[in-house]
């Protein structure tokens, strides 16, 4: 049985197409994916992302603990700084990718993927031995809204009365009972706002009633994040896909004294990996989907599509795919088997559309 977010009734009332995602029943679209996608690229959209999980780590060893389980380096960070990175298995496979907010000295707020909440919290608890910390699982308390798009700053200020103008990219602040950060998963400027269910419901209602902010479902959240090359756990990262394979080494600081998975990543960096994540652009408009086979010029299977779309912002069929490393160079001819036909393409950068962050 899927869980419902605190905005479930509102989604149904808006006529959203609801579907299971990550253990929750979530809105996929309200009108259609294309319109919602374009609203975020051109104006402003609001997403219910209350399915995301939150964990607060406090205590005398909180920083040392986060440094142990997290690939990025939070040492010496100013309060309000946010880091993207991963939790890894000792073999370098990915437990989850997450955001870590530094809320204070030895006080961190971790935001994890909905589908991984139970696994992640268990993983964190397994690795607390030797650390004097308090681990507070707060997913049931927090709702979360993502207000995204070039008009997000003005909408959040005018409609919610929250001034995000002083927030730089990847920073957060506390306003009353809520946490607001200049973050997102769309490649546009925008904010993510964590608050109680009551706050989240009221803020959602204000945003929708204002008419300045289109309700957007997880359908366009996926097309938006995909075309700017952001990974989704389960597609581009998994227990079998390390950050090195996914091209995310920059978020793994091997100069840190230690973190779980560091040795495996160092070995992968030194000796190379068997498979790498690439972008593939097709000549035709057929759409490569997750799991479709990637073929070399000889027709041999050399990889698999992780995510693919007809890219809405550039009008091309493109995908990310995990392929044997020898086929990962730019411009390598690779084809995708789509149903009965083989569609020719070539390796391109994984970023199909440029991000428009306000930094």
């Amino acid at each position: 049985m899927e869980k419902k977010t605190c905005l479930y009734d509102r989604h149904v009332a808006l006529g959203a197409l609801m579907s299971p995602f990550g253990g929750f029943i979530m809105p996929i679209q309200y009108t259609n994916i294309t319109d919602e996608h374009n609203a975020v690229r051109q104006h402003c959209g609001v997403f219910d992302v209350s399915h995301m999980g939150e964990v607060r780590i406090t205590g005398p060893d909180a920083e040392r603990y986060v440094q142990h389980i997290f690939t990025n380096d939070v040492s010496g960070a100013p309060v309000g700084q946010i880091y993207y990175g991963m939790m890894l298995y000792p073999n370098g496979g990915t437990v989850d990718d997450l955001l870590v907010y530094k809320m204070g000295e030895n006080d961190f707020f971790l935001v994890i993927n909905a589908a991984n909440i139970d696994k992640d919290v268990a993983w964190m608890k397994e690795h607390t031995a030797g650390f004097d910390i308090k681990l507070d699982h707060q997913s049931d308390y927090y709702g979360q809204l993502a207000v995204q798009g070039p008009e997000a700053e003005a909408v959040v200020l005018d409609v919610l009365g929250i001034d995000g103008r002083d927030l730089k990219f990847y920073t957060a602040k506390v306003v009353g009972d809520i946490i607001i950060s200049r973050t997102g998963y769309t490649g546009e400027d925008g904010f993510e706002i964590y608050g109680s269910h009551e706050f989240t419901q009221k803020a959602w209602d204000k945003l929708i009633e204002s008419g300045r902010c289109k309700p957007c479902g997880l359908g366009c959240r996926d097309t938006l994040r995909f075309e700017v090359g952001l990974p989704l756990y389960g597609d581009e990262l998994s227990a079998d896909i390390s950050p090195v394979m996914a091209g995310l080494s920059m978020f793994c600081k091997l100069d840190k004294p230690e973190f779980i998975g560091k040795e495996a990543l160092a070995e992968q960096k030194a000796n190379g990996v068997a498979q790498k994540l690439v972008g593939i652009e097709l000549a035709d408009k057929a759409i490569p989907r997750h799991g479709y086979a990637v073929l070399n010029e000889a027709g041999e299977v050399v990889g698999e599509v992780t995510t693919g779309y007809h890219c809405l912002s550039v009008d091309k069929s493109v995908c990310m795919a995990l392929v044997k490393t020898e086929f990962a160079k730019l411009d390598t001819p690779l084809s995708v088997q789509i149903r009965k036909k083989v569609f020719e393409g070539k390796v391109v950068k994984k970023k199909f559309y440029d991000k428009h962050y306000k930094k």
Binding site: N32, I33, T34, T223, K285, A286, I287, S317
Partner: protein, 126 residues
């Protein structure tokens, strides 16, 4: 609200066929295009390909998913709607006005197994 057109035969998988003599024009229903959302690609067979009742002959791709096209009849493809190659969104604009393939029927008795519009409406309401 989905539109329904009289005089066509419908399959459970939401294809329609408009029969004219020994030929049938096969497309997807208005109900189907609604359910799919924005169509961005139509994967069509080639002229002279054989199609078989109940078997896949192509696919309609929306942003989120690919849906197989299932032929309501058996026969030979004599024409494909080339306008859909450049403008797949025509299926959203007018599903009944934009057929996908024209088939020369090899066994017209197969039409008896398909639904009329009233039966199809009931099927969509289930």
């Amino acid at each position: 609200m989905a539109k329904f057109e009289e005089g066509l035969r419908y399959s459970e998988s939401h294809e329609y066929i408009r029969v004219e003599g020994e030929y049938g024009y096969v497309g997807i229903s208005d109900y189907a295009q609604h359910a799919l959302g924005n169509v961005v690609y139509v994967d069509m067979p080639d002229v002279d390909d054989e199609v078989t009742a109940g078997e896949e002959f192509g696919a309609v791709e929306s942003v989120k998913a690919a849906s197989d096209l299932i032929s309501p009849v058996s026969g030979t493809v004599v024409e494909v709607n080339e306008a859909l190659e450049d403008k797949p969104e025509l299926l959203n604009e007018d599903a009944f006005g934009n057929w996908i393939i024209k088939v020369q029927l090899s066994d017209p008795s197969e039409l008896d197994a398909l639904m009329d519009v009233e039966a199809y409406k009931a099927h969509c309401a289930e």
